[in-house]
Structure formats: C-alpha cells, structure tokens
C-alpha cells in the first residue's frame, strides 16, 4: 500500500468555487454545466451545508465493496489507488450501486446501453505522474494529492497543529477498511451528510462469511442427501423383497398341501 495514492480534502479550506467539477468534466469529456449532486455526468459535486462545502466523489476504497459484489468483476482496485470500472464486462445488474456504502455509482438511466459512471481518480494522469485534474484545478489547496500514508500523517498533523479549528477525526482512514479519499473538517462529519455509522472494517467480509461456507454446504449436504437416499431406498427395497419372499413361501406352502 506504500505506493498507493490518495487525496486529502480539507473542508475548512474549500470555498465552493466548483473549479474541481469544471476541471473534472473537461478531463472526462462530460456534459458541461454546474451540477449540485453526483450524476452520470458529474463525477464530483459540491454539497453545501451552512456555508461548508463537501466534495462528493468515489472514495476509492482500499477494499472496494463494488469490486467484491460485481458478478463479472467489472471493477478493479489498481495498486496506484483508483477503483476502475470496465464497461465492456458490465451486465447492468446494479449490485454495485446497491452495495456501495457511499451511494456513489451513478447509472445512465436514459441509455439503452447504460454504463455505470463514477470518478476514475484520473488513473491515466496518475500513471503519467500527473495529479488528478480536480486536485490540479483547486485554487485553495483544499484538495491535495499524494501518497496515502503521507497524506494521513499530514491530516493528523493539521488537526494537531490547530485542534480548535478541526474535528479530531480523519474520515477515510478506517471507514469501511480505509479509503483513498480522506477528509478533515471543522464541522462534525455527521452534520455534513457523511455516513458516520459505516463499519470500520472492509465490507466484503460480510458476504464472504456466507460465500466461504458453500464448499462445506455442498460436500456435507451432498453426502447427507446421498446417505438419506441410500438408507430410505434400501429400506423400501428390503420391504419389497420380504413381501416377495413371503408371497413365495405362501405359494410353496399351498403346493405342498396339494
């Protein structure tokens, strides 16, 4: 995880200028025009809560739920950090949308060949050694791109340096097992629409608990069913033979008498 990239979003610095969304739309060739919520044409959006702006986007989880639930493996977590979606694999079951703990994936509902749409963490730019378009466009430094470990250290550093200014929590360090998008804020997270009740460990373990029991169910269940069949089948067989023998005996007894 050392080379894994991340972004630190400092909500105390964000002025809500929307440069990030503009840059994002340009970079990804999405329909222009300001949008206030995430959509199939807005990979990031600013939500306002009493003067505090919260930038929504895919959190690029360290252990992504979307990648675990997708039946055809259309999502992959790259070592650099981005969680990427491969539309050529997608069958459109929308389990990723249902399962995402942050309600991020959007759908092209109007299309007859719909795709999931979400932030790509500018994976191609990162590969070239550039920072994501939004981070580059941010005029105040509210979005900072870097190594995840370093950014976590920096986030705690900022809180320590100005404890009166920050809530003592870095969102994304532990949430759902960690995310590549980290937040610090002056206003409590629960008042800013953050899902604060999400579990601290990775989500896929929840379904894996059930899935990992399949081999046991199949082998034990199979033997059990076969065993039951063998016993009950044998019993009816024995009954049938006994009946036959009894009938034969009666028959021969009758013959003797004659």
């Amino acid at each position: 995880m050392n080379t894994s990239k991340a972004m630190l979003i400092d909500l105390t610095v964000c002025i809500g200028c929307n440069s990030c969304q503009e840059a994002c739309k340009k970079e990804n060739g999405l329909a222009e025009g300001e949008e206030k919520t995430l959509s199939a044409t807005a990979y990031t959006a600013l939500e306002e809560y009493d003067g505090t702006y919260v930038r929504r986007m895919c959190q690029h989880c360290v252990t992504p739920t979307c990648a675990s639930v997708c039946p055809v493996g259309a999502f992959t977590k790259t070592p650099e950090g981005p969680v990427l979606y491969d539309e050529s694999k997608c069958i459109g079951c929308r389990y990723c949308m249902q399962a995402c703990p942050f309600q991020v994936p959007r759908y092209e509902w109007g299309s007859i060949n719909p795709r999931i749409q979400k932030c790509k963490f500018c994976a191609s730019r990162i590969k070239q050694g550039l920072q994501p378009a939004c981070a580059e466009a941010c005029p105040t430094g509210a979005t900072k791109f870097g190594d995840r470990d370093e950014l976590i250290r920096e986030a705690y550093g900022r809180i320590k340096a100005a404890p009166e200014k920050y809530v003592d929590h870095v969102y994304g360090v532990e949430e759902v097992g960690g995310t590549s998008i980290l937040y610090v804020t002056g206003v409590p997270f629960e008042r800013l629409g953050f899902k604060t009740e999400v579990q601290r460990s990775a989500m896929p373990a929840l379904t894996w608990n059930a899935l990992s029991k399949i081999p046991g169910v199949v082998s034990v269940g199979g033997m059990l069913l076969f065993g039951i069949w063998w016993i009950t089948n044998r019993r009816t067989e024995v009954q049938r033979i006994e009946k036959q023998q009894a009938a034969l005996k009666n028959h021969s007894n009758g013959e003797e008498r004659i």
Binding site: L38, S39, A40, T65, S68, V69, C70, P71, V72, G73, A74, K89, C90, I91, G92, C93, R94, Y95, M97, Q98, A99, P101, Q103, P105, R106, Y107, E108, W109, G110, S111, I112, N113, P114, K195, E197, V198, Q199, M203, P204, L206, T207, W208, N209, A210, L211, I214, V217, V218, G221, G222, L225, F226, I228, W229, T232, N233, R235, T236, R240
Partner: protein, 404 residues
C-alpha cells in the same frame, strides 16, 4: 343432477371469460411496457433512481419468483431422497411450477438488467467473491436441472423411451444436485443483502438472512404446492389430494415455527427488541408481515380441521404466500427507503411487466397441464400417477424384476 353440473360448468366458463379479458389487458399493457423498456431504457420505463437502483423487478420477479419455486426442490427431496412415495401425485405439477418459475425469473432478469445481452459474461468472467456471481450460476444450473427433471414428462408424451432410459440412470444424482443448488440459491438471495448493514432497516438486516431466506422458502414452497393444487383442482375440475396437502401444510407450519424461533433468537442476539415497538412505518410493515406470514398460518394450520378442509388449506397457504411476498418486498424496497432518503413506488410499466410475467406463468401452466401428462387423472379422485405414467424409479423396478 345434470342441470346442476351444467350450471357449475357455465359458471366456470363465464369465470374463465372474465379472466381471459383481464389477462388480455395485462398482456397488452405489458407489451407496451416491454417496447418502452427496450427502446427507451430503464429511466423512461421505471421509477428506479441512482439512490434506489433495485425495485419491483428485483423484489418481486426475482426474490419472490425464486422463493415461490421452492416447492420444486422440497418435494423432489421428499419423494426421491427421503423416498416418501405417497407424495408422487403432486410432484409433477410442482416441478412444472418450479421450472416455469425459474424461466420467468430469467425473463424478469432480462428486463431488469441494463445490458441483458451480456448476461452470458457470468459464465466466463468469474468473481467468486460476489454473491451475485453465485446467484447467476445457481440460476443457470438449477434451471438446467429443472429442465431435466421435467423432461420425462415431455419424453413420455412423445414416447421417447431411449432418452428416458438415459435420464433414468442419472435421476438420483440429478435430484441431489438440484436440492443442493436450490439450497445455495435460496440462501444466496438472502446473502445479497448482507452487504448493506446500514442501508437495510434493523428489523430485517441480520447476518442470518441466508438461513432466513432458505427456511422461509421451504415453508412457502409447501404452501405453493397447496395453493397450486387447489387452483388446478378448480380449473381442471379434478379431485384434490387433501391428505397429502394436509401433510404439506404441517411441514410448512413446522418450518414457519423454526423460522419464527430463529427470528426471535436473532432479535435477542442483536438486542433489537426495542425496534419492534417504535412508532414507524417499518414497525407496522414488520408486524403485518409477521402476523400474515407466520402467526396466522401457524395458528390456522395447527387445527386439524382446517388442515383437512379444502378452504382451510387454500386460505392457510394463501396467507403463507402473502406473508412471504411481504417479507421479500420489505427487504428489497420498504426497509431500504429510510437510509436512502428516497421513496420508491414502481411505475405502471414496472407493474405491467410483473403482472404480465405472472400471467404468462398461469397460461403456460394451464397449457402444459392440457397437453402434457402432468396430472394423474383427468377427473374425479386422484390416483397415484405411477399407475398411468410410470416414473423413472418404477421403470427401474420393472427392469430389475424383468432381469430377475
């Protein structure tokens, strides 16, 4: 006597006419909705949103469809694995119900999937971490198994004895595989929701959901056999296997009792009893579901008189089914609304498609009943099917006896 028969026949015929009109209207609406769905997309035809990506089609067509087909594996296990042969007369209609059920689940899936033409991807693109992957494989494999379990009926109709002989040699392994696949499939539909611990309201979310789905499926599977037998006895003017159905109602009752006990233990485990008394829509829906689908049928079926009467069986099985449908709809829809902060109600097109699928199911069943040897006798009291249509095992016995 003759005039009375005639008046009964007349009533049935006029009743059929009303149903025909209703079915035609439903199918017409369904056809319009189908065109809309495939030419203009899910957004135009459904009320699904980014916040609410799964609606009626998943909730009813898939979750209920698969559950209501559970009679198939339950009876196959009773008759062929446990060798309780007296249930044979109801096996064929039940396997038919299950097979049609699964085919219609696939049809429903085709409507709901955004890219249905890529559904085959699950065959070659594997993600063994995904419950949906398990679901996909269970649907594919168990539908195949059901087709093979149903095949003898068709083969027999066209007297293809050689193919029957081949099927006969694999019948027991096939049935065991079918029971295993069903076990996995029924429970995996519950596992689907394990991934949404915060989203799904606390009265329903439980780590035992796979088990809940499985046990309730067996209970409703038995109820479906009763329900379907009552309906076909009326529609095809046949006798009713009351003694068998009453036994099935007891199995259903026992499974519901097991289900209820597990639910209570689970609520205690999670110290969630307080949720039962919060003045919220979820609470009322939960109690309605529990009362209809568990308390009422257990109470009803515990009376021998009700279990052994035609109307008692019909009413009892109906409430089991209604309660089951409420459970799946609550889990997939109503219990999701609070967290997502949206409300969802299906569009008329979603409803039209769902009703059309159900209608097609009814039509297909009656067509099959008409042209294939599904029931033992045309009229009057049921005779064991084996007398008329030797089943796979009977052929076995015959050939063994012949050899001896």
């Amino acid at each position: 006597m003759k005039t009375r028969m005639q008046s009964i026949m007349k009533r049935i015929v006029s009743g059929l006419k009303v149903w025909k009109v209703i079915a035609t209207l439903i199918l017409a609406a369904g056809a319009v909705a189908t065109i809309e769905r495939f030419t203009r997309g899910l957004g135009e035809s459904t009320h699904l949103t980014d916040q609410f990506p799964w609606g009626l089609w998943i909730g009813f067509d898939i979750l209920c469809g698969v559950g209501l087909a559970a009679g198939g594996f339950t009876l196959a296990a009773i008759v062929y694995v446990f060798n309780v042969k007296r249930f044979e007369p109801v096996v064929r209609p039940t396997i038919l119900t299950a097979f049609l059920g699964y085919l219609l689940v696939i049809v429903g899936l085709m409507f709901d999937l955004g890219r249905p033409w890529q559904i085959w991807h699950a065959i070659i693109m594997w993600n063994h971490q995904s419950v949906m992957f398990e679901v996909a494989w269970c649907v594919m494999l168990y539908t195949t198994v059901l087709a093979l379990e149903f095949a003898p009926v068709v083969l027999e109709r066209f007297q293809m004895t050689r193919a029957m002989k081949i099927l006969r040699t694999v019948s027991i392994p096939l049935i065991i595989v079918g029971v295993l696949l069903s076990t996995l499939h029924q429970s995996s539909l519950g596992s689907l929701y394990l991934i949404v611990p915060e989203k799904l309201y606390g009265l329903w979310y439980s780590s035992y959901m796979p088990l809940f789905f499985y046990v309730s499926a067996i209970a409703v599977g038995c109820a479906m056999v009763i329900f379907e037998s009552c309906l076909s006895s009326r529609a095809f003017n046949r006798g009713l296997e009351t003694h068998l159905l009453s036994e099935l109602s007891r199995i259903s009752m026992v499974m519901l009792a097991v289900y209820a006990t597990m639910k209570i233990v689970d609520l205690a485990d999670r110290s969630a009893f307080s949720l039962l008394f919060l003045p919220r829509p979820e609470t009322y829906l939960y109690w309605l579901e529990i009362t209809t689908g568990i308390i009422l049928p257990i109470a009803l079926f515990s009376f021998r008189k009700i279990r052994e009467s035609r109307s008692g069986l019909f009413f009892g099985s109906t409430v089991v089914i209604l309660g089951f449908i409420m459970n799946r709809m609550n889990i997939s829809i109503t219990a999701m609304q609070r967290w997502t902060g949206t409300s969802y109600f299906p569009s008329w097109m979603e409803i039209a498609v769902t009703l059309s699928i159900v209608t097609v199911g009814f039509i297909a069943f009656s067509m099959a009943a008409k042209y294939l040897p599904i029931f033992g006798e045309e009229t009057g009291h049921p005779a064991p099917i084996r007398d008329q249509y030797p089943l796979i095992e009977d052929l076995d016995v015959v050939s063994q006896e012949g050899a001896a």
